[in-house]
Amino acid sequence: MSGNMNLTLKVWRQKNDNTRGKFVTYQANGISPDMSFLEMLDVVNEDLVRKGEDPIHFDHDCREGICGMCSLHINGRPHGPKQGTTTCQLHMRSFHDGQTVVIEPWRAAAFPVIKDLAVDRSAFDRIQQAGGYVNVNTGGVPDANVIPIPKIIADEAFESATCIGCGACVAACKNASAMLFVSAKISQYALLPQGQTERYSRAQAMVAQMDAEGFGSCTNTGACEAECPVGIKLTNIARMNREYLNAKIFKEIEVH
């Protein structure tokens, strides 16, 4: 088909976390600009399977930008050259014929490589489990909308809750810091009346887990915000700092 492209891929191949990885060069030929980046990799993988070689491992699930499973550091940026998009939503028209594309996994001590481009992001799950929940009373089903919440606050909490947990913020940060993710998860509850019971213990527990997982600290470069596919704001990080310092300095009694 006319308009199709030929690309040179430099892909990070690594057997598992205990072995050393290296870049391997592949040709991706006859790629339609309408394909997504992952479909392009599918084409390359079909070729590899046909040749009896080990296909490139990469994470994906929904392929419509909502699950946060896809990753990939593409030509120096998480989720590729476009802002506000996941890799599964990245179209090949963002590249040009003859281009060399370097594909690396998220690089962070807290995200060990499982294989090739797939990394283990269960550190995020453990942070969430440490405090990213609300207690709910048993009993009759409460009426909807019994708790008044100002629209602005509801919107703000909703925006924080749109974080899909992809880890691009960690991948983009020069310190591999998880502050944007953790702050979004803390904010979505701290803003709402339902989240008040555990408000201060949550901030402490989630920050403690974040540190224990080995993520870096925050230099406020703003790289995370710029690369986040759903536009989580730095304001969340300021809020988390506030929640945490407030908890530590004034509400120590509420530590787990």
């Binding site: 430099k10 870049f23 550091h73 030509n75 120096g76 940026r77 050259p81 370097v102 690396e104 690089r107 962070a108 001590a109 807290a110 453990r126 489990q129 440490a130 983009a172 020069k174 310190n175 591999a176 810091s177 402490q204 527990a205 920050v207 403690a208 887990q209 974040m210 540190d211 224990a212 080995g214 993520f215 870096g216 600290s217 925050c218 230099t219 406020n220 470069t221 703003g222 790289a223 710029a226 690369e227 730095l234 304001t235 990080i237 300021a238 809020r239 988390m240 700092n241 506030r242 929640e243 945490y244 310092l245 407030n246 530590k248 300095i249 530590v255 787990h256």
Partner: protein
Amino acid sequence: MSKSKPLLFSTLGKKLIMSLTGLFLCSFLIVHLIGNLQLFYNDQGKAFNEYAYFMTHFTPIKIVSYLLYTSIVIHAIYALVLTIHNKKARPVGYAVYRGSANSSWNSRNMGILGTVLLVFIVTHMSQFWWKFHNDQVPYIEYRTDLNTNKTTATELVAGEFTDYMEYVDNGVAITKARDLYKQVAFTFKEWYWVALYVVSMAALSFHLIHGFKSAFQTLGWDHKKYAPIIRFVGIWFFGVAIPIGFAAMPVYFYLSN
């Protein structure tokens, strides 16, 4: 699940220390600049030398100055601790990393800028602070005729007298002081000192354009109304006015030679 550690052992607590010491250093810069503007007086350094004596002998100021030295040391130590921690968080780096696509150069290089500042601070203190406190600056005597209000200055031979004196003798006000002003003028005769100072002030500018607003973010002081003010002050006051004010001093002495 991990237990919550004491504040200062968490990454957020360490950043709290960075921001508090950093902001304290910022407040010092204001005082230091205003005081040093007296270098521009055309009075053979009288006001400046009197000020230098006052700043080194007034107890509350001495206390604050020790707080300041401590802050510099703590700021630098925590910068190192955090940098090591952050490097460990990414043991394998990227082959291709386009930081410029998502963040400013200075925000990514606070450590390098800070190291330049640390080298500068050590040099600067050894040139003036150390010499002033260890009797390695010249002495001067100012004689002001109280009738005509005319001041003359003569250099004093070292060893003849130490420290500072102020008295009136026969209608003439006499001040004897260490001539830090001359030490300044003498130092900035050399182009390489001028160059070092100007480059360091450029580093200060970049450090603070990011650092000032970053400190407020670290403290969680983020507000729709006030954030633009903080950003403005960080860029135009701490990033432009203060470094230019300091850099003007060596340039002025070099040119007036």
